[in-house]
């Protein structure tokens, strides 16, 4: 009997402690929301240089391959990016479970040099944005099957978010390869002329 009283007392103390810590804690990072705007991310990546804006038009073959990588239809007619000396930055959206995740991908000479979650809108699975998780993508290239050539350790309970980031990382690598081989005349946007 005494044992039970003691156990319950300990449980209550732990529970109250947990509740208090929780309510008082003021964490630095938020699970949901916009962490960085697209333009800020681009500026940070290329600083102090000014990158050139570019446009990749989704012609039939590019669209087909992009749809294969994502496993669903690709909307829109073109993809905007920024580049300077073989380095490109892509800001792409992909739905995890229900809401789009905004992901910034930096490709340098055909390899991923950085992936960052710029906005996360779902209430669960936000762990994908942790630097330790994102660092796994560094150095990844595209395999023959248009998938990442590195294995990425996932997150329990956030499988859909992990898949979304994997797909966007592979897609950015593919877009980069297409943008690098495109004739100069089709890359320009009307604003940049």
């Amino acid at each position: 009997m005494f044992n039970h009283v003691l156990k319950n007392l300990i449980s209550k103390v732990i529970f109250t402690g947990l509740l208090t810590t929780t309510l008082l804690a003021s964490p630095q990072l938020s699970a949901k929301g916009v962490y960085q705007s697209g333009p800020d991310f681009v500026a940070e990546v290329f600083a102090p240089q000014q990158p050139e804006p570019g446009v990749l038009w989704l012609n039939k073959s590019i669209r087909q391959q992009a749809e294969k990588i994502l496993g669903h239809k690709v909307l829109g007619l073109r993809v905007r990016y920024h580049q300077s000396a073989g380095k490109t930055v892509w800001i792409l959206n992909e739905i995890g479970k229900e809401m789009p995740i905004t992901i910034g991908v930096v490709i340098d000479q055909g390899k991923i040099s950085r992936v960052k979650i710029l906005a996360y809108r779902e209430s669960r699975g936000g762990e994908v944005r942790y630097p330790a998780y994102m660092a796994q993508y560094q150095g990844a290239t595209l395999s023959d099957g248009y998938k990442l050539d590195k294995s990425i350790d996932g997150i329990t309970g956030a499988t859909l978010s992990v898949w979304a980031v994997n797909k966007v990382a592979a897609l950015a690598l593919y877009y980069h390869s297409q943008a690098m081989t495109q004739p100069e005349s089709t890359k320009q946007t009307s604003e940049s002329r």
Partner: protein
């Protein structure tokens, strides 16, 4: 004379030639004026063309933007989402003591998710389930509302929930789509000890203490043990006119800062499992688990234990402690094929000296036709001291979307 004539002829022809090559100033002026007019006309034309080109570019840009906006709009503005999952099972089991066979096919679960985003920070989520395919008077199945809550992001790092929600305990209770776990049937420990799938009505608060360390705290309706019942699984009232005299509280800490690793611990307090009817029985559930994935290898291990007031022993001897654990290594041979083995042990009367534990070994394989469509096959070997364990094969197909 001849010479003079020749000289004159040469002179004349030279003069004529010079006259043809050099127009008069007047003529030159005319030519210049004419050329100037042509240049101006060309210049005008060029200016016009340039401005037309710019205009065309502006029109093209506007058209492309509008087309993109229209084609992208439906996806972005969709506020109500529908999802779901389902699993069909076939069990061919034989009891150790030969007392009976189970040869059964069952559409175990068919679930519809509906969610609605009111604003960026307020949303609704629900899960409606048909268990065992058919429900109604005298039928084997049930229609159940397993989740229905409003979620509100109060601040950047705090989310509140109110309504009917899944208990933040264990691995499977909150994430139970068939394509996310191994084995046709859910593991026996989470089913019989925790008991998954388990939902209650109440309010909760979740957030992040530091990157990778999340917490959940919840106050909610409690379990109720009717006469003669002692297992937590039998105490689930499923929020249907549930007795709410005595509440329960749950807290969880979850650590996921290292890629591939999840460490979590939950603690729950039931203030009275009899809800004021009969002897007061307090209960405390402690659960902890690890889920670790490294490349193609994955390990899941879970331990859960209930500690009840001794009064429960008068209902069933030894029920004051109910405990279980499992360990499940698995390996993905390819993207689509994974194999697993699971050892589990649970005991709903662990407080008694007698050996009443159920041990189960499962081995099997998942084949993912698509990341969200899975076929499963496994073999189970269950043993208990009374010799009524079931051994045999389970087959399943499951999906989620």
């Amino acid at each position: 004379m001849k010479k003079l004539l020749l000289a004159t002829l040469i002179g004349l022809s030279f003069a004529a030639a010079t006259q043809a090559a050099t127009p008069s100033t007047e003529e030159m002026w005319k030519i210049i004026q004419k050329q100037q007019a042509e240049i101006s006309a060309l210049q005008n034309q060029l200016n016009k063309n340039n401005s037309r080109l710019t205009e065309t570019e502006i029109i093209a840009e506007a058209t492309i933007s509008a087309v993109e906006e229209i084609s992208l709009a439906p996806a972005a503005s969709k506020k109500t989402h529908i999802g779901g999952y389902g699993e069909l099972h076939y069990n061919n089991l034989e009891k150790d003591d030969g007392s009976g066979d189970k040869d059964e096919v069952d559409f175990h679960r068919f679930v519809l998710f509906t969610s609605h985003q009111f604003t960026d920070s307020i949303r609704f989520f629900s899960e409606l389930e048909i268990e065992h395919s058919i429900a109604g008077d005298g039928q084997v199945g049930e229609v159940e509302l397993e989740q229905a809550y409003i979620e509100w992001d109060m601040a950047n790092n705090k989310t509140a929930k109110a309504g009917l929600f899944l208990m933040p305990v264990g691995i499977l209770n909150e994430t139970h789509e068939p394509d996310t776990f191994y084995g046709t049937e859910r593991n026996a420990v989470e089913k019989n000890i925790i008991p998954a799938t388990w939902w209650e009505a109440g309010a909760s608060l979740s957030g992040e203490l530091s990157p990778g360390l999340r917490y959940d705290v919840a106050a909610h309706s409690g379990l109720f043990l009717a006469d003669g019942e002692y297992k937590p699984r039998d105490g689930r009232q499923k929020v249907g006119k549930a007795k709410a005299d005595d509440m329960a509280f749950t807290g969880r800490l979850k650590y996921t800062a290292i890629p591939g690793l999840e460490l979590a611990a939950s603690l729950q307090m039931q203030t009275d499992m009899h809800q004021g009817e009969g002897d007061k029985i307090e209960g405390t559930l402690f659960e902890t688990h690890v889920a670790w994935q490294k490349d193609d290898f994955q390990l899941r291990a879970l331990y859960a234990t209930w500690d009840f007031d001794d009064a429960i022993n008068s209902i069933k001897a030894g029920a004051d402690e109910q405990t279980g654990f499992y360990i499940e290594p698995s390996y993905k041979i390819t993207d689509k094929i994974g194999v697993f083995a699971r050892y589990s042990e649970y005991d709903n009367t662990a407080g008694s000296a007698s050996d009443s534990a159920v041990e189960q070994m499962d081995i099997g394989m998942n084949y993912w036709l698509h990341p969200n469509v899975v076929f499963k096959i496994d073999y189970q070997n269950q043993d208990n001291s009374s010799g009524t364990g079931s051994d045999g094969i389970n087959l399943g197909v499951g999906f989620s979307y």
